[in-house]
Symmetry: C2
Subunit: 153 residues, 2 copies
């Protein structure tokens, strides 16, 4: 079976880049922390565990490269750091985020939900949408009511 790494390798090759050991280590960290929203520094520290000789600049360059190839998305929640998030395989669009103002948790919404809105925007503003960023700020289910259950995630 073809693994996720194999497919990413192909994507790199298709753009005439190589999957060097440093790049592979970086991708593995991202795969192992798909749920999280790691900053470059976070990634760097985690990559160092499996590839101690890696440099911070390489991590930055790798993340930039992966962003260019749309393998990861670079996001920004308003604190001073950029975070990097693996894109769902085959996802045409970027997923949305729920940022809790109370506990800081970041949850993801994989559903699109924006189809109607995008149709309106494309027509009414004559704007050809390539991508979107949607983040809700508020109170998450955990903080909302401790007796409530984790919803449809």
């Amino acid at each position: 079976m073809e693994t996720r790494i194999d497919r990413i390798k192909k994507q790199l090759h298709a753009a005439s880049y190589k999957l060097t050991p440093q790049r592979e280590a970086t991708v593995r960290v991202l795969l192992d922390h798909e749920e999280d929203h790691l900053s470059a520094e976070d990634v760097y520290l985690l990559v160092k565990d499996i590839a101690p000789e890696i440099g911070l600049a390489t991590v930055y360059r790798t993340l930039e490269l992966l962003t260019e190839l749309k393998i990861v998305d670079k996001i920004n929640f308003g604190d001073g750091v950029s975070r990097y998030d693996l894109r769902q395989e085959g996802a045409a669009h970027f997923h949305h985020h729920l940022v809790c103002l109370e506990c800081g948790a970041v949850d993801e919404i994989q559903e699109d939900l924006l189809e109607d809105v995008e149709n309106i925007v494309e027509k009414r503003w004559n704007f050809q949408i390539k991508d979107h960023r949607l983040t809700f700020h508020g109170i998450c289910w955990r903080c909302n009511d401790s007796s409530s259950q984790n919803p449809s995630e």
Copy 2:
């Protein structure tokens, strides 16, 4: 007639802050450039024209204060700088943005458009929404087709 500045002054007073000359100059710049999305540096340079002795730190502090009071919104389009945008008077929610990948223009959408989506998110994810950020990246009407007209803005 009560001016916009007067009302902002009241908002400051209500939170026991004063509208100092520096703060007033900063607000005036924002009012005079409501269409733009100025960075702190941009604001600083413009404020210097009407109040040359102002310090950069003061501009930052003023923008932070105005953000706290929800008079302006601090936004981030992924380039390394924060931009500041006057909130429409009476707007409960933050407006949306269209960022053109070709010419870099930033247009605004004042309509809400997200009501349905927010209802779904609140119910399905049990998430109490306080605010949102929605930005579309794509090709604007100007770049899309030079013969086309400025749409419903």
